[in-house]
Symmetry: C2
Subunit: 315 residues, 2 copies
Amino acid sequence: MTEMTEEKSEFKLIEWIRQQRQDGDAKDVITGIGDDMAVVLVGGRKLLITTDVLLEGVHFDLERATLEQVGYKAMACSLSDCAAMAAIPFVAVVAVALPKTMTMDQAQRLYQGLQQAAGKYNCPIVGGDTTSWDKPLTIDVTMLAKVGATEPILRSGAQVGDTILITGELGGSLNGKHLGFSPRVQESRLLAQMVELHAMIDISDGMSIDLNHICCESRVAAEIDARAIPVSQVAQSSADPLTAALSDGEDFELLFCVSPSDAEKLLREWPGRSTVRLSSVGRIIQAKGEQRLFIRQMDGTVEPLEVKGWEHFNE
Amino acid sequence: MTEMTEEKSEFKLIEWIRQQRQDGDAKDVITGIGDDMAVVLVGGRKLLITTDVLLEGVHFDLERATLEQVGYKAMACSLSDCAAMAAIPFVAVVAVALPKTMTMDQAQRLYQGLQQAAGKYNCPIVGGDTTSWDKPLTIDVTMLAKVGATEPILRSGAQVGDTILITGELGGSLNGKHLGFSPRVQESRLLAQMVELHAMIDISDGMSIDLNHICCESRVAAEIDARAIPVSQVAQSSADPLTAALSDGEDFELLFCVSPSDAEKLLREWPGRSTVRLSSVGRIIQAKGEQRLFIRQMDGTVEPLEVKGWEHFNE
């Protein structure tokens, strides 16, 4: 039997699952396990799918969040996956396991939060499953999305020399932002219209983990600049603001790679198009070994950056 | 605040959710909440979606089931929903919350069970979400399906005079069948090719509940014949075999309505096409009030039939 402490991790499990993939019916499966959304073909059209589970006590705490907020967050996490692919949210189905102590009123408030995000981002809830048990609340949202103005933006397209950019600010999301964040659905589509996005991901597990995903899938490495990281105000008051920004997770901002000239264009033209902050934080470099992330510290020295953040299966 | 004991039930909650539906983007939503699967339009083609949660301690017990069986069941429940619509399973995404005590080996066995059903029914798993917590195992499977030879068969098409038929045998599924049942995917497509199916559902909550769903959605009533109910061998050894067959749930057999002449055709020709038992169990009648289900008892008297089975939210 595999040793848990050594071998168990969410990403190792996912990697193992990818290796098991059966390619029998793969002609309609364009992108399978391992990106923000899977991409399949329906009647010649690309359709994207994502599923996200939110667990009470892990992804939210009902003493610090209302049920409306929890419902909103559940939808917003999947909407953020759509943004990461520059895709257009289409429809969602929602499966819940309600604690037996939950009242009808409470269940309705949860649904109203889901519905609030569904309405705001034009992604109707078309079905679901309702069960109950004497355990904490779980919510699973599965969302379908359609292709926007561009092909789906994958994690695997980053090129050596690309500039790495980030929307918004990072760190300290658990102080509140994680419950009411705005998934970057509009921003993502605007970016895809303005420039050629090579690779994109939403920052859910933490910037260093998510940038590492892009590097692994694109077979490249990255050097980020400590001075350029957009640290949120709430993270600035933490003991180690930079580490908070790089590894707290649940920022639900976009991290993406474009050519240096497209980066220049964006930094010049973006402020006239959107109020969301945009930061150039580093560049894609050649991979030379297992270590894919490097950081240029405040003093100019370049060091390996530890990949760390929120990884569920080995907490 | 609503009184839990009076007002809370899975079906009341779903009914409330249906009423909240926003029809903003409804042109691409053909069938929303309230059938076995939702039906949406993608590039002019109909696509079906279903999601099902399985909870440890509710839908399976790890002291009586292997992890492979649990994985198989999770996929099979959604495959059964595809069968209920006479649709062709296409792809699935799987979201799991793994107990922190679970080893990598155990997680892999769960996945192998999922994969076994995926392979057998040609429905590849293309994505998912893996999280963990210090609570019991939950598995959510969301499945997409394509339209088969016929339009999706809804719950709402039953007509007065229709004959009600059932595949297989009912009752006592929790003794084992619920873990290894064969979703009636092939049978459903064969039925749809042979006759015009007016309405169909898979028996998950219990025959009386599921027949009642058809009656409510079709605005009709039903009279079933106690002598015609195909009681499984394991249910025959229970204290009340007929009640077990009518309300145990998790049979995952098909219940469907066809014209009397189509019923005759099926009963004549089916045995040459399939080894699965097919039984005519009653007929659709006009609705005359709230009570929609009636049963012709062994002695010939007709009585109202209590709608009872597995309803999650008010256990």
